[in-house]
């Protein structure tokens, strides 16, 4: 099991968000978590990555058998967990190249080969249809929402994570940009042995990324699990009209 979350309870600002949340992701699987606004979907991402604002009061998270709750954000990232936020922030004055050089040095303990580093950066920019000038631009500085998502994928290709968490990356993206982003993610998926966790409102992204497992989040826990048909059903009928026939037991979820 690559990622295993057991009976996780999470609080933010003294409010319970996740309650007995369980999730298992095996190597190579692509999971999607759907749910209405404000239900705690982003809390899952932030808790896995280790944002200290999110307080884990109960439960466990294992990543490749390591206890993630004992690791800080940096250590979790070094283990291979990578989060693409729905609104990546900008850090003026810190260029993509500079940040990536430091990150790779910290990960490998070796000074990067500048020629190979630059070559890979340029090739990835071309693949993502972003200008090569982004390499020496401040992180997400002055970039549109779509450019920021692509910029995050530029980082992803350089850092080569094992588990990719996508937090509503389709928000703020036009149709063409969503396709570029998804095609790029699929290419990364094919070339690397990874798993993907997708957080989203609707079925579009799940279809484009060929999600293998769909979960519905409600009241802090997964209340239903299925295949892509479940996402389609929610897309058609909404969350309120959700058919309880899809409700599954804890045992079924783990299958």
């Amino acid at each position: 099991m690559m990622l295993k979350i057991e009976n996780l309870n999470v609080k933010i600002n003294n409010k319970d968000i996740l309650k007995d949340f369980n999730l298992d992701i095996k190597l190579g699987e692509i999971h999607g978590i759907m749910g209405p606004n404000g239900i705690g979907k982003s809390t899952i991402c932030k808790t896995i990555i280790g944002d200290p604002i999110y307080l884990v009061t109960k439960g466990k998270i294992f990543f490749n058998s390591k206890d993630l709750l004992k690791l800080n954000i940096t250590q979790r990232a070094k283990e291979g967990i990578y989060l693409v936020n729905q609104n990546p922030i900008e850090i003026p004055g810190v260029t993509n190249a500079e940040m990536l050089r430091v990150a790779l040095f910290e990960k490998t303990g070796e000074v990067v080969n500048i020629y190979e580093f630059n070559k890979k950066l340029e090739e990835t920019c071309d693949k993502l249809s972003i200008p090569r000038s982004f390499i020496h631009r401040g992180i997400n500085e002055g970039m549109s929402g779509g450019e920021r998502k692509k910029n995050e994928l530029l980082h992803l290709w350089m850092l080569e994570p094992k588990l990719i968490i996508l937090d509503e990356i389709d928000s703020g993206l036009d149709v063409d940009s969503i396709k570029v982003v998804c095609d790029n993610l699929k290419e990364y998926y094919k070339n690397h042995k990874v798993s993907i966790l997708i957080i989203t409102h609707g079925p579009q992204l799940l279809k484009l990324l060929s999600a293998t497992h769909i979960h519905i989040l409600n009241e802090g826990k997964i209340i239903a699990t299925g295949d892509y048909n479940l996402a389609l059903k929610v897309g058609k009928e909404g969350y309120k009209k959700y058919n309880k026939a899809y409700l599954v037991s804890e045992n079924e979820k783990n299958e």
Partner: protein
């Protein structure tokens, strides 16, 4: 006599007065000049890039600007002890522009930044003050922005912030696998160099910043 080295040329007199009558870019690196008076003549565009690591110092800068001229003063500093920065701007005519970009890090030190923009009744002038301080290691600072305007036919803005290293920025960089210490170094360095466009200057600043 104090000498101010600007782009490899010595441009000042005994009273540290600088009169600029053509488009110019000036660079000041770690200069301890305490008084600095600059007058920009009509139709000139001037950029001054000023970086300092300060132990104990007062800096007084007086800017006079004539009609249809512009001046951008970019100043970043690391204050390790005590730094009082006073900037006084005066508009002598109309249709001119002054932009002040000041980014300071108070590293244990205390800083007072007084910025005074005297726009009086001269019309169609622009004054933009953007002053940001980051306090680390119990450093602290005060920003006192003043704008005097006696006509509505001007644009005058000031943006001032005092804070510490952004938790969001820190978490973001750490989520890329960068340690907290290195992430802080990147953020602080980026904050200092972000107001400059001169790549040569940026490289020099990175070389002398002591935490790198």
């Amino acid at each position: 006599m104090n000498k101010l080295n600007m782009n490899n040329s010595i441009i000042n007199d005994e009273n540290n007065n600088i009169i600029v009558s053509k488009d110019s870019i000036y660079t000041i690196m770690n200069h301890s000049l305490k008084t600095f008076n600059i007058e920009v003549k009509s139709n000139c565009k001037v950029i001054i890039n000023d970086f300092r690591i300060i132990d104990k110092e007062d800096t007084n800068i007086k800017i006079k600007i004539n009609g249809k001229a512009s001046l951008i003063y970019n100043h970043s500093f690391i204050n390790k002890n005590k730094y009082e920065l006073n900037i006084n701007t005066t508009y002598k005519s109309e249709e001119s522009e002054i932009i002040l970009n000041i980014h300071g890090i108070n590293d244990k030190g205390f800083n007072t930044t007084n910025v005074s923009g005297i726009m009086s009744d001269k019309k169609n002038n622009i004054l933009i003050e953007d002053i940001r301080l980051i306090n680390i290691n119990n450093g602290s600072g005060i920003i006192i922005p003043n704008i005097l305007a006696e006509t509505s036919k001007i644009i005058a803005n000031h943006n001032t912030t005092i804070g510490t290293i952004s938790e969001d920025e820190l978490s973001y960089l750490m989520s890329k696998g960068i340690s907290e210490t290195e992430a802080k170094n990147l953020i602080l360095t980026g904050f200092l160099i972000n107001i400059f466009k001169d790549k040569g200057l940026i490289t020099k600043i990175k070389e002398i910043i002591y935490w790198r």
